[in-house]
């Protein structure tokens, strides 16, 4: 009794775990998992890297104040007539400040004022998490501390396969949707063609009935030999036209059936879709950032191919205003959806390329057989 009860409880727990896993690896659960993981990364990186950023900014501020004090003291104390000595002192101090400035830049200083603008806001950290797991990696926001770097590596180990799974899954789903829409558009197109053919057939049938009526009217007045000749000619023409129209309808139906069976989306349509999405992104970033068309397109292309140089980046977004934070969120959504769309496009294109490759392989094999 106790054994049976324990087993049933264990079985119930196992079933619950299986149910949870099934949900998380279904489509909606997978999307939620990716977004949740990115949000978790945002929280972690903000907590780790935010204080470090503030510290660096404070360092540069102190160095600047110190440089100003030294310059003033040199100006105040030096002899009025000794210009060379004063210039040497000022140059030395400017050089020292320059060194501190360069070192701080290497440590992560980005020229922003302390407290006014910060890279590691929540949305900035969210975008950073997203660039890690998508392997875009802009680099203008990057972890600087040891803890931050370690967490980035651990985060990437789990996140990159998760993103890979997400893109594969969503790519398949979007490819199916795209294929379905394409099939529907083909059916609609052929339905229109059939409708035109039927209208044409109806017109021909109406013309035939008119001709028959006229012929029948004439038959009353003419003699027998002329009657038989005219009637025969009319009947032949009618049958010929009707047969041709029916043949055309049959051809259209067969063409539609053939295309629906093959069910491959042409590569030009896939490329056009991808260029359209890049065009939308280009327009958005051009309006926001004041970049040229080439620069915006360059940024979108470099991002969606996951190269991610970081030389172009939505720079005015890195601030604490609400509008800037909204831009970062929209950028994140654009990248995430864009990569899914890219996965869809290459899923479809890969099918087409595989079919063509198989066709070429068959050609080569038949050629080899002929040679042998």
């Amino acid at each position: 009794m106790g054994r049976r009860h324990r087993r049933s409880k264990v079985t119930r727990v196992v079933n619950l775990v299986k149910k949870i896993i099934a949900f998380f690896f279904s489509h909606i659960g997978l999307c939620a998992l990716v977004v949740g993981y990115a949000l978790l990364g945002a929280v972690i990186f903000k907590a780790v890297e935010g204080p470090h950023e503030a510290e660096i900014q404070e360092l540069v501020k102190s160095a600047r104040e110190k440089a100003v004090d030294v310059v003033w003291n040199a100006t105040f104390r030096v002899n009025r007539l000794d210009s060379k000595q004063w210039k040497k002192t000022v140059l030395d101090e400017v050089k020292r400040f320059k060194t501190v400035c360069m070192l701080s830049i290497r440590k992560g200083y980005d020229g922003k004022e302390y407290g006014k603008q910060a890279q590691w806001t929540f949305t900035g950290a969210f975008l950073y998490s997203l660039t890690v797991i998508t392997t875009i990696g802009y680099g203008n926001t990057a972890a600087k501390t040891y803890i931050g770097k370690t967490l980035t590596m651990l985060y990437a180990i789990i996140g990159i396969p998760l993103m890979l799974l997400f893109l594969t899954n969503i790519g398949d789903v979007m490819a199916k949707i795209f294929r379905f829409l394409y099939a529907q558009s083909i059916r609609l197109k052929f339905r229109l063609i059939l409708w035109h053919k039927k209208r044409k057939a109806a017109k021909i049938r109406r013309a035939n009935s008119l001709v028959s009526r006229l012929t029948r009217g004439h038959r009353v007045k003419a003699d027998s030999s002329v009657d038989s000749f005219g009637l025969g000619a009319g009947a032949d023409v009618e049958d010929l036209l009707t047969a041709r129209v029916e043949m055309e309808q049959l051809e259209v139906r067969e063409t539609a059936a053939a295309q629906l069976e093959s069910m491959t989306v042409p590569i030009s349509l896939v490329v056009f879709t991808m260029l359209g999405y890049l065009g939308v992104g280009t327009t958005i970033f051009k309006v926001w950032e004041g970049w040229t068309f080439l620069e915006s397109f360059y940024f979108c292309f470099i991002s969606l191919t996951t190269i991610g140089f970081g030389d172009k980046f939505p720079s005015t977004s890195v601030s604490n205003t609400d509008e800037a934070q909204e831009k970062l969120v929209i950028t994140s959504i654009y990248l995430l959806f864009g990569m899914a769309l890219l996965a869809m496009c290459f899923n479809l294109a890969q099918e087409e390329v595989q079919n063509k490759t198989r066709w070429i392989a068959d050609k080569f094999r038949s050629k080899e057989d002929d040679d042998d």
Binding site: F25, W72, M153, G308, Q350
Partner: protein, 436 residues
């Protein structure tokens, strides 16, 4: 024969772009089946087969190397004059501003204006110096050394070697960003160059990764055979066989081969390579071990932040070799383990969801699949010893000659094998019950 590949040379765009080569796996299996059919039906000369295989691989690698080299030349021609101009302009601007600041402050001192005004002016000048320094540094054309007298002409960014480094990291989608095209023509060339080059490099890296993974599988299979040969001598006295056991043996061998590469071996290979790279790079570049490890990891995953990049240009060629081999190893690991585990998880979730409501006819009784799995697990717990005994008996049985070639099994086949084993254990259990 060490490995079998397709007759066709690779073409760019054949494999899905910018994603891990997971679909290529299916393609290769299909091609492999066709090749095996060709070989069995019409045996070819060995030298011809090897020449065809080697020619495909070598021509792909040569094409990639030529493409990268030519791209490096183009980017060098486009970007180097721009860099010279930008550097000269910024240095001149900085020097002018510095002289202005000094002269103006001295004049203020001479005229005896109050401390507050002079201090405000000094702050303003230092802010301007900061801004000019930051802007100059942001162009990536100027470092601290170039601001020294006589240092203007040192260490230009765009040499042929650095352009080669740039093109390789561009096409592998690592994209450090320490060196980027600045001119409009450079950006346009970058887009077109990457559009055709990224698929080419992905195919090449996937090809090398496939080569490595097949060799790993070969070595591991050979190792397991050797170990089985040693352990086989212990049970040479046991030689009983029957058809059912033989069939079970075949299926068990298939399963064994399917999961033959353990995950810890793959992870060990990957970690060893990254650690090796970390040690070597920290020696070359003067980094600490952690920075080297961080750089290697970020590079192998193609994240490529660019916050840490190699600076010693004499080691760039070696860096590139390390990167390409590392990417091939990463692709190999994904090919062997990653995709299988990812798809297994996905299949697991989907299969459970779909199979929950299915009914199976077992012994004339309609049973739900979860109930069936429960019964199977109970029976396995009850009669596990007998199964182990059967395995021991089976160990000395016949192994087919082409065992090493059977490496890839569909999930459908795997599912059918699993269900067959469950049914077999159920039947065995029932037979046992009848005996009892």
């Amino acid at each position: 024969m060490p490995f079998v590949t397709s007759h066709l040379p690779y073409t760019p765009g054949r494999v899905g772009m910018f994603t891990r080569p997971m679909h290529q796996r299916h393609y290769h299996r299909r091609e492999q089946d066709q090749n095996e059919n060709d070989i069995t039906s019409r045996p070819m000369a060995t030298w011809k087969t090897y020449a065809r295989i080697i020619l495909a691989h070598v021509s792909l690698i040569v094409l990639s190397v030529v493409y990268v080299g030519f791209g490096a030349f183009l980017f060098y021609q486009l970007e180097q004059p721009n860099e010279v101009e930008v550097r000269a302009r910024n240095i001149e601007r900085f020097n002018i501003h510095k002289r202005q600041m000094i002269e103006h402050l001295w004049e203020m001192r001479e005229s005896g204006i109050g401390q507050h005004v002079v201090e405000d002016l000094a702050v303003k000048y230092v802010d301007n110096v900061t801004r000019i320094l930051f802007e100059a540094f942001d162009t990536h054309c100027i470092g601290a050394k170039h601001l020294r007298p006589g240092g203007e002409d040192e260490d230009y960014n765009w040499t042929y070697m650095t352009a080669l480094f740039f093109t390789t990291t561009l096409l592998t989608t690592i994209g450090y960003g320490n060196l980027t095209p600045v001119t409009g023509r450079g950006k346009l060339l970058c887009i077109l160059y990457a559009l055709f080059g990224v698929p080419l490099i992905l195919i090449t890296v996937a090809d090398i990764g496939k080569f490595l993974s097949e060799n790993i599988v070969q070595l591991y299979t050979w190792y397991r055979k050797l170990r089985e040969k040693c352990s086989k001598q212990k049970y040479s006295v046991i030689s009983s066989k029957d058809d059912k056991n033989k069939e079970g043996d075949l299926n068990l061998d298939h399963l064994e081969n399917y999961i033959s590469i353990p995950i810890f071996l793959i992870v060990a290979i990957l970690l060893s390579y990254i650690t090796f790279g970390a040690v070597v790079l920290s020696m070359w570049e003067g980094w600490d071990f952690f920075s080297g490890f961080y750089f290697s990891f970020i590079t192998m995953t193609t994240v490529g932040f660019g916050d840490i990049v190699p600076l010693k240009r004499e080691y760039y060629i070696l860096d590139l070799c390390y990167i390409i081999i590392g990417l091939s190893i990463t692709t190999m690991c994904i090919d062997l383990v990653g995709i299988q585990y990812i798809r297994k998880m996905h299949y697991f979730g989907r299969a459970i969801k779909d199979a929950r409501f299915a009914l199976v006819n077992v012994g004339g009784k309609m049973v739900h699949v979860p109930d069936l799995m429960r019964y199977a697990s109970v029976l396995q717990q009850k009669y596990g010893q007998k199964k182990t005994h059967d395995t021991i008996i089976v160990k000395g049985a016949y192994a087919p000659k082409d065992l090493s070639k059977i490496r890839f099994i569909d999930f459908g086949a795997l599912a059918s094998i699993e269900s067959w084993q469950s049914l077999w254990s159920i039947l065995t259990g029932r037979t046992q019950e009848v005996h009892v």
